[in-house]
């Protein structure tokens, strides 16, 4: 039960969790991360963001991230979903779920997947702020640092 998806459509967390963990009584711990569009960043109201990806490479990178996580933690199931297209505040953008027998593996694997996803999967965000031209988001050093801590 390891899956990655890139889609324009929204996702339903209950449905994802059911398909991940149903009929697997070895799962004792499920961690999910959901990323949502925030309405304000840097004091200006955000109108929308548009997510673009590199079809093919995005999916294969996401699958490689899950493989890497499975090398590091004993996972029973995991899933990454990333939306693309124009999304308005409060919309869901990204979903990561990890299932394991025990909680620490599930927590660490989920945080690892998000950190790596942010720096290794080919997605790009363009933000539209009130009264300004839409701008591509700059990569953040903090994300590189978050990724680097898993190299130890």
């Amino acid at each position: 039960m390891f899956e990655v998806r890139v889609q324009q459509a929204d996702f339903d967390i209950n449905a994802e969790l059911a398909s991940l963990s149903r009929d697997n009584p070895a799962i004792g711990a499920i961690v999910t991360f959901t990323g949502k569009v925030r309405s304000s960043d840097k004091d200006r109201p955000l109108i929308a963001m548009t997510l673009e990806h590199y079809p093919g490479m995005a999916e294969s990178q996401m699958a490689a991230l899950i493989e890497e996580a499975r090398q590091r933690w004993p996972l029973e199931a995991a899933r990454i979903i990333h939306r693309t297209g124009r999304l308005t505040p409060e919309a869901q953008i990204v979903f990561v779920a990890t299932c394991s027998a025990h909680r620490h593996a599930a927590f660490e694997a989920a945080e690892f997947l998000m950190d790596w996803l942010k720096t290794k999967a080919p997605f790009w965000k363009k933000e539209e702020y009130e009264g300004a031209e839409a701008q591509w988001v700059e990569a953040r050093d903090a994300d590189d640092l978050a990724t680097a801590r898993w190299d130890a």
Partner: protein, 85 residues
């Protein structure tokens, strides 16, 4: 018949500068590196020049060293640092 060209893809602001999603290019010299391709492209698209040092290159959907030599049939993508998630 094997292809004698490469397929170049552009993403995010790189695509906005080139004005096209991608294009095919016959390798001007055998063993051209990604870095040399980029130099070639900055002549065609001067808007890339100022930000060329921040571009990443993927060859056949794998992020690659710019010094890797390109081969006919390669899919070569140029894009900025990723900002998804």
């Amino acid at each position: 018949m094997p292809r004698d060209d490469i397929h170049i893809l552009y993403f995010a602001w790189v695509r906005e500068i080139t004005g096209v999603d991608g294009e095919r290019l016959v390798l001007p010299v055998s063993g051209l590196t990604g870095a040399a391709l980029l130099t070639h492209l900055t002549e065609k698209y001067p808007g890339l020049k100022a930000r060329a040092d921040r571009l990443l290159i993927a060859i056949n959907q794998t992020q690659s060293d710019p010094e890797t030599p390109l081969k006919p049939g390669d899919e070569v993508a140029l894009f900025p640092p990723v900002t998804g998630g």
